[in-house]
Every structure is written in C-alpha cells, then in structure tokens.
C-alpha cells in the first residue's frame, strides 16, 4: 500500500506523536476526574496532596445518590426495551414497506438527532406540562425514548438492509408463517443490529442531562441530574467519585458491546 505504516520512515514518529497527543486530549479530563475522586482535598486541588477513599464512602453512604443511580438504571432499561421494539417495527416498515413518503418518514425518524437537545427539552417540557407528565417516571421514559429512537432505527435499518429478504422467503416456503419466519430467522440474523440499538439506547438515556433536568422533580432525579444539582449547590469530590463510576460503567458497556460483536463475527 502507498501509505504503508512501516515504510513512512521519519513521518511515522510524527504520526505517533499526533495520535498520542489527541488521545491525551480526549482522555485527560477523565484521568483528571478519576484522580480527583481519590484525592483527599476537599477543594478539588490538583494534583491531590494525598489519597483517600472517603468520597466513595460518602457516595455509598448517601441514599440519594444510590436512589438517583437506581432511577437512571430503571429509566434506561425501560427506554432500551421500548426503543428496540419500536425501532424494529419502524425499521421493518422503512426497509420493507412500499408506500408514499417512505423517505420523508425515514428522515423524520432521525430528526431528534439533529434538533438541538435544549429545544427538544423545552418543547417536551411545555407539552408534558399540559398532560401532567413532568416529574414522572413515564415522562422520563417517553422523553428519553424520543432521543434514543433514531439510534435504534438507524442500527436496525442498516442490519435489515444487509439481510437478504430471500432468506425470509425461504423460511416461509419451508412452512414458517410470515411472523414465525421473522422471529426465528430474520431476528437472529440481525441480532448484531438489535444489540447495537440496545447499547446506544441505553447510553443515550443513561448519561443524558439536558432533557432530564427539565423532567426531574425533587423526588425523581437521574444520576446526571443529581451530579448537576450537587455541582451547583456545593462543590464536593463526591461528584468526582460519582462521575468516575459513571464513566467506568459506560466503558464496561462499550467493552461488552465490542466483545459480543467479535463473538458474532466468528
């Protein structure tokens, strides 16, 4: 190849340096916050004068943090399930259907990704105020579902487009009813797309803060909202500890996704 890495000579080291700098730029804030969460300074001094696990103890001792995390998890799981199911049906219609305005509908499904989140948040807030959904569990789920659905529709549509419909026809000729063929043949064949949709949907809801601030009430808060409000009230390293755990959990999910994808390729 023209740009074979081994034949670049001195340029190789330039590329290595640039890559290292970019990686540092991306990783430094995370390293920084992780270091602060173990530092013993009350005032988030960097570099920390000493090390402690106190902030983690405080975090786990405070039921409000745990409650917020549990709320986040419940909302994210509900959003994941709904987003994958609705995304699957929407994708089936968008890839298999033959109706007027299909492309318009496809674009419409993706608009929440393009719209500024704060605009969407205000709109949802105003709408939910009218129907009394603000500050409710259902309101949270519906609001996050709007944000998560585009990811599901895109992942599942892509998987469906890569799947030859003749395979489904073959299953039907073999004696499976159309829905049986979809469940026993099409779904397993596009499972990587369903899995990607699930991971994305979960993460969209799990670390979403803008819409969540509008939806939250004093009694119902997600973890990112709790971090945000705590940050505004008093600057404590407990936030760093919570953030570190949030990042760790996200990394674990991404690793799991990568592992599953690798397993599927075999």
């Amino acid at each position: 190849m023209l740009l074979d890495f081994d034949r670049l000579g001195a340029w190789k080291w330039v590329l290595v340096t640039i890559t290292a700098l970019v990686s540092l730029f991306l990783l430094l804030p995370i390293v920084f916050i992780a270091a602060l969460s173990f530092g013993n300074s009350q005032w988030l001094i960097f570099p920390p004068p000493g090390w402690t696990l106190r902030w983690y103890r405080d975090l786990f001792a405070d039921p409000r943090w745990l409650e917020a995390a549990w709320t986040s998890a419940r909302i994210a799981i509900a959003v994941t399930v709904l987003s994958v199911v609705l995304g699957l049906f929407a994708s089936l219609a968008l890839t298999r259907g033959n109706f007027r305005g299909r492309e318009v509908l496809r674009a419409f499904f993706v608009t929440p990704m393009i719209l500024p989140v704060v605009v969407l948040a205000v709109a949802l807030y105003a709408f939910f105020l009218k129907i009394g959904l603000n500050g409710t569990f259902l309101g949270f789920i519906l609001a996050h579902l709007v944000l998560a659905l585009p990811f599901s529709v895109i992942s599942i549509s892509n998987a469906l487009e890569g799947f030859d419909k003749s395979i489904e026809d073959a299953a039907i000729l073999c004696g499976a009813s159309p829905w049986e063929a979809r469940f026993r043949v099409t779904l397993p064949a596009i499972s990587h797309g369903l899995f990607a949709a699930a991971i994305f949907s979960f993460l969209v809801s799990w670390d979403e803060v803008v819409v969540a601030i509008f939806m939250a009430s004093p009694t119902l808060q997600t973890l990112p909202v709790k971090i945000w409000t705590t940050l505004r009230q008093d600057l404590t390293p407990v936030i760093a500890a919570a953030s570190t755990l949030l990042v760790l959990f996200t990394i674990a999910l991404m690793l799991l996704a990568a592992l599953v994808r690798k397993g599927m390729k075999k």
């Binding site: 030859d164 003749s166 395979i167 026809d169 073959a170 299953a171 039907i172 000729l173 073999c174 004696g175 499976a176 009813s177 159309p178 049986e180 063929a181 026993r184 043949v185 397993p188 064949a189 499972s191």
Partner: protein, 361 residues
Amino acid sequence: MTTPFLQIRNIRKAYGDVTAVNDVTLDIAQGEFMTFLGPSGSGKSTTLYILAGLQNPTSGDILLDGRTLLDTPPHKRNIGMVFQRYTLFPHLSVGENIAFPLRVRRKPKAEVDAAVRRALKLVRLEGFEDRMPAKMSGGQQQRVALARALAYDPPVLLMDEPLSALDKKLREEIQYEIRRIHQETGVTILYVTHDQEEALRLSDRIAVFSKGVIDQVGTGTELYANPATRFVAEFIGDSDFLKGRIEATDGKSADIRIGEHLILPAVSVHGSARPGNEAAVMLRPERLTLSSTPVSTAGSLAATVKDVTFLGNNTHVLTETATQEVLSVRLPFGHEAAGSLRPGQPVWVSWDSSSAHAFCT
C-alpha cells in the same frame, strides 16, 4: 382422461402498465422435470414465484391435483424451493437448517433427525451437520439448500436459477447431482434458467419464455429440430437467418425466393405464410456443408469464404452470400474441405432441406 398433476391456467401478472406474464397455460406431469427457459424479463421467474405463492397473479389459476393453490398461503403450500441467492439461515448450522422445515411442522425429534440424515445423504454432504453456512462454498450451500427443500418430501420442487452464481465446472457437476436426485426421489421439478445448455442437460421438457408468453413447449430435441418461432430458433442452438420472400405455399411448407435467382423448395414455414410475405430462413451452422460445386439433391447457395477458425473438434467457417448475408458453417474435424479453405475463395453452401425452417412475421 386423468387430470394433469400440476396445471397452470391462463396466468397473467401485470405491474401497472407492464405485463410480466401474459396468459401462460401449461400442464406438468407428476415426476416431470420441466424447465422454464428464457432471457431475463421473459416472465419465467415471475411464473415460478406465483407457483410458490410469493407473488399473486393478476388473473388465472394454479391447480395441484385438480385443486386450486391460490387460496393457500405460501407457508402452507408444502412446496420446496431453492433460490438463486444463498438462502441458508446464517445463524443455524447445516443440520439445523435442514431440520427447520420439520421443526416448524412440529415433527418428533427422532423423525427430524432421520430426515436430516437422509437429506444430507441425498446431496452427499454426510458429516456436515455441525458446519455453519458461512464456512461453506457456494456449491455446498446450494446443495444444503436443496437438501432443506427436499427434507419434508414436497410434491413439487421449484428452483430459480440455483446455479447462476457458480463457476462453469462446478455448475456442471451440480447439474448431474440434480439429475441424479430427480431420478432418486421422483419429485416434480420446475426449474428456471436462462442457460440453454443447462436446460437441455436437465429437463424432460422445456418451456421457452419470451416477453411474458410461452413460445413453445417440448423436449430439447423437438425445440432444436422444429422451433415454432424465430425466437426459439435463436435461443436454442446457433442459427443464421436469410431474408426471403414466399413464392408459393400450402401453409405448412413454402417455396421461398432468396435474392434474384434462387428458390428454396418446400421449406417448412411457421407464422402467417402467404405468397408475397417476407420470411426469415433459419440455417444451423452444424447442418451446413461446403463444396466446390452445387449439390443437386439439397438446398445450395453460392458464397465467399470470409474467415476460417480452427476450434479443435470443429472448424468454424464464416461465409458471405451473394446477397451480403452472413452464414456460419461448422465443419467437423477431418472434413475434406476444411484444410484447403482460404478467405476470398468461392464455395457452395449446402444443406439438407429438412433442416431449414422459415419464419414469417
């Protein structure tokens, strides 16, 4: 008279203004190997998909054993099908793929296992049960697809160009496998292809499709020796055509004038033969011969040699007639004239009059 096993009755399929299949009627006997042969867009695949139930006809009927199939949904028709593309279920092993049709029929495990073993033996892939489709060659995948389509003993097997993605050598190998399987199982096969050689090699009878209609149905020999239309003559075997005009006719054969002076007597004619009508006279390269003097007992035409190509078992000679029409002549190896022919040389092209056919439009 007994009812034919499978009847296709006046099937029509239109998409808006386009008619893909136009009034196709065909009877197929039990155990017959019937091939739909034709170029792409001739309606052969659409007819097959209508039989499978994956498409609905605009009008017409399909009868199996005298009963209509059209009110039965595709998954209840109990018909086997092998597709052009590879359609093995990617997440299931070979054994599970073949077991699939039996499992959806809720057959007991012992019966499923026995059927899988039998089907794998039939396509000579014993021991491949646990292999995943992605780890198999295209030819092996199509054999598994065949095994899956036969595992539940369907009365009819549909095959839609199953070998078109394979290379020539492999294709021939699997053609013989399909023939053997047809003989062993006695299943009625409807096979779609655009490859005339494949059709001739496999079929009991061939239906030649052109522009949504069946031009002719018959054995390979019948189609080759007595093509009903110019299209069939062109599609099966090689052929050249001479422009002529009908001088006299009794409707079955005609005297046809070629150019100024030549009249071909008693050529069998197809289409609306009336004196004065134009006719295209078909001659097959392998039925022609060359000589230095005209042959009195047969049709004969003066021509000039244009090109000579030695092809091993035969020599291909390109000639041009006095009316500037091209005739190909294929001489078998060892033919006395073959060695001495040179471009520019005048020759006589002759043929047995029974091998010429004229088509009127």
